[in-house]
């Protein structure tokens, strides 16, 4: 594949490939508060920690020393308890490898595909643009007056908010069973240290308009009410390690939740309270944001949980077109919110015909799989597509359009000219 020239850098004093890092947004203190993963530049399945995407819905909290850390488990349990990090590490550990994907990843592709289907010319969102924004206060926009959604989109590209990682911790189930969960338990409300007043601009950007009222919960801690069934899942963790090292602050140290298959907003960071409840809690980021529905006024909005079924073509890219006639490997990644990917089909004729791609098998159901197929590329214009099917038989796309434009899993065409 004749890709653009490989970039170089000095790594440990040696000339080497450039090591791609995050595309960070920083606050006025120079601290990273948001970052996208250059996953098209990476190889393999595990995203290096320095390249793992970062999103926080509220203000990031001040770090807590691991020795000073504790969280409580309370509510509908026989034995309320307080755990330190060392207490947690004495319990039977468990490691999972899984994709973390922000619910809003690729959100602009909803509009792009609609425009394309109607013959429109909305530009295709880019997964190769590497923006760096300094001195940004995402959470102070509402107070700053007028909101320019177009400018906001350029400041906050909504692609590449997905990564694959290894997480080590203890099963949430282990902690819940030791606490003696009562039969009345319906949900586990997990609360983080992160605190703030949700900025309505985030929702305006997500919905794509500003002409509606956004619920104001005041200053809150970030929390989610995980249904008891998912909380008891053997892969749901309270994790203290990531990719072979202790969690970093931006990823929720000392302890965060890992909810494989479900969107990143469920993976509560900086945990300080686990409350077992006999009803679903009214969490802002569950009943007002990250909800599906036809519009802001839809009375039947539903919380969004598992990701859909998704494939991304990582080679070839439109940016490399035109390409000389040759035999190419079409490659990509595929993942699902409900288990392993079992099939990926590829079309090189705009979806007219489909052929099975080779999937690299592995044992981690919630980690993306690499796939590839050979393509004898002849001169002309070609529209490449890929679609995946998971172990539940769900074939991409499975997520219906929703007004907050979350969980995009549409089939994104790649247009390539062959000379």
């Amino acid at each position: 594949m004749p890709r653009r020239e490989i970039e170089g850098d000095w790594v440990m004093g040696w000339p080497d490939r450039k090591r791609y890092r995050l595309s960070p947004s920083k606050d006025q203190e120079g601290r990273t508060i948001h970052a996208r993963t250059p996953f098209l530049e990476l190889e393999g399945l595990i995203t290096p920690t320095d390249a793992y995407y970062i999103v926080a819905q509220l203000q990031m909290p001040e770090p807590v020393h691991p020795d000073d850390y504790s969280f409580e488990i309370c509510g509908e349990v026989e034995n309320p308890a307080t755990y330190t990090l060392e207490d947690l590490r004495k319990l039977p550990g468990h490691t999972v490898r899984a994709v973390t994907e922000c619910a809003g990843d690729d959100t602009e592709f909803w509009d792009y595909l609609e425009s394309r289907a109607k013959g429109g010319n909305l530009p295709k969102p880019s997964r190769t643009v590497r923006e760096e924004v300094e001195g940004v206060d995402w959470h102070g926009m509402a107070d700053s007056g007028e909101i320019d959604l177009r400018e906001l989109s350029s400041l906050m590209p909504a692609t590449c908010i997905v990564s694959g990682g290894e997480w080590t911790g203890v099963r949430l189930r282990e902690v819940l069973e030791r606490a003696g969960v009562k039969d009345s338990a319906v949900a586990i409300r997990v609360e983080g240290f992160d605190r703030g007043r949700p900025d309505p601009t985030i929702q305006y950007r997500s919905v794509g308009r500003t002409d509606f009222e956004v619920h104001d919960p005041g200053v809150i801690n970030y929390d989610k009410g995980l249904p008891i069934e998912k909380a008891m899942d053997s892969e749901t963790l309270l994790a203290w390690a990531h990719n072979g090292e202790y969690l970093t602050h931006v990823h929720g140290a000392p302890v965060r939740m890992v909810v494989p298959g479900w969107a990143g907003n469920w993976w509560v960071k900086w945990i300080h309270r686990v409350e077992v409840m006999d009803r679903m809690p009214d969490c802002y980021h569950q009943t007002h944001y990250f909800v599906s529905g036809k519009g802001p006024d839809d009375p039947d909005k539903k919380m969004m949980t598992a990701l859909g079924v998704k494939t991304v073509i990582t080679e070839p890219l439109e940016e490399e077109s035109p390409l000389p006639a040759d035999t190419y490997a079409i490659r990509g990644l595929a993942w699902s919110g409900e288990g392993a990917m079992v099939r990926v089909e590829v079309s090189t004729d705009n979806g007219e015909t489909w052929n099975d791609a080779h999937i690299e098998e592995h044992a981690d159901r919630y980690l993306w799989r690499r796939w590839s197929c050979l393509w004898d590329a002849r001169p002309g214009h070609h529209t490449l597509m890929a679609r995946g099917t998971d172990e539940k038989g769900r074939r991409q796309p499975v997520t219906e359009w929703n007004f907050q434009r979350k969980h995009f899993d549409g089939i994104v065409p790649v247009d390539v000219e062959i000379e």
């Binding site: 970039e7 170089g8 850098d9």
Partner: protein, 270 residues
């Protein structure tokens, strides 16, 4: 054709202002632990200008690009960076005697180094260093070398023993020429710089980097570094910026505009 490009390492200008510290008693910028210095962006554009000249002249041009810097061993990082971008070789003027140079002392050392290099047809430098922003070393170096200087260039062409540059002016630009050898300082309007390629980075590992002290350039200790400095630093401090915001109110846009104009006149902005 031999091009010498002067580069300087500076504290990373992209760091948050809140991390920037000054020791007012010692009149020094305090190094930030873990924060590596970077090449001054204007100097990186000077390197890019040299590479563009080489690209324009093609294979037959036989352009050699030498990077020059005055700095301690920590400057090796930016030297390796410009070699990876495509410079052919580099010289580090690295000696304790060079410490605490001012603009004059730096220009003096660079002039001596250029003399030692032999035939240099074109000297390029950033329009100013992005830390102290003095913009003096380039013109001073030209003066000491006895060659013409063109400043604030956004485009440079070389042909038939003449350098032609488009200079950035406050209200536009002008095109000027000078016979070679000459010195040109490069402005940021030159445009983006290239990325280092893996192939060039691997080549860079084998490129020669020489380290010269005062004796190598024929300079006495008394004519370099702090001993030769002509600038007397009275005070080094971070100015306090007043961010007070005044909202102009009035009955309608016209009244607000008039009130705003009055305030601007009062503040002597207009």
């Amino acid at each position: 054709m031999h091009i010498a490009v002067c580069i300087k390492q500076i504290p990373d200008p992209e760091i948050a202002p809140s991390l920037f510290r000054i020791d007012e008693d010692a009149r020094r910028v305090v190094a930030i632990p873990g924060m590596s210095p970077v090449i001054s962006p204007f100097d990186e554009q000077a390197v890019e200008a040299a590479l563009r000249i080489r690209d324009a002249l093609g294979d037959g041009g036989e352009v050699r690009i030498t990077a020059l810097t005055v700095g301690d061993e920590s400057a090796r990082r930016i030297v390796k960076h410009v070699l990876a971008l495509g410079a052919d070789d580099a010289v580090m003027m690295s000696d304790p005697a060079f410490a605490d140079s001012d603009s004059y002392a730096t220009a003096h050392v660079l002039a001596k180094a250029i003399a030692k290099l032999g035939t240099v047809d074109l000297v390029l430098a950033g329009r100013q260093a992005a830390d102290l922003d003095a913009g003096v070393v380039g013109p001073g170096l030209a003066e000491l070398c006895g060659i013409p200087a063109i400043t604030f260039a956004r485009k440079i062409d070389v042909a038939d023993g003449v350098v032609r540059a488009i200079r950035v002016l406050e209200d536009g630009s002008e095109t000027v020429e000078a016979p070679l050898p000459a010195l040109v300082t490069v402005s940021h309007e030159m445009g983006g710089v290239r990325n280092a390629s893996l192939r060039e980075t691997m080549r860079a590992a084998k490129k020669p980097v020489e380290t010269w002290g005062p004796a190598d350039i024929g300079a006495d200790i008394g004519e370099v570094g702090a001993a030769a400095a002509r600038r007397r630093l009275e005070r080094l401090y971070v100015p306090v910026s007043d961010t007070a915001c005044e909202f102009i109110e009035g009955d309608g846009a016209r009244a607000v505009a008039a009130a705003l104009a009055r305030r601007l006149v009062e503040e002597k902005v207009l």
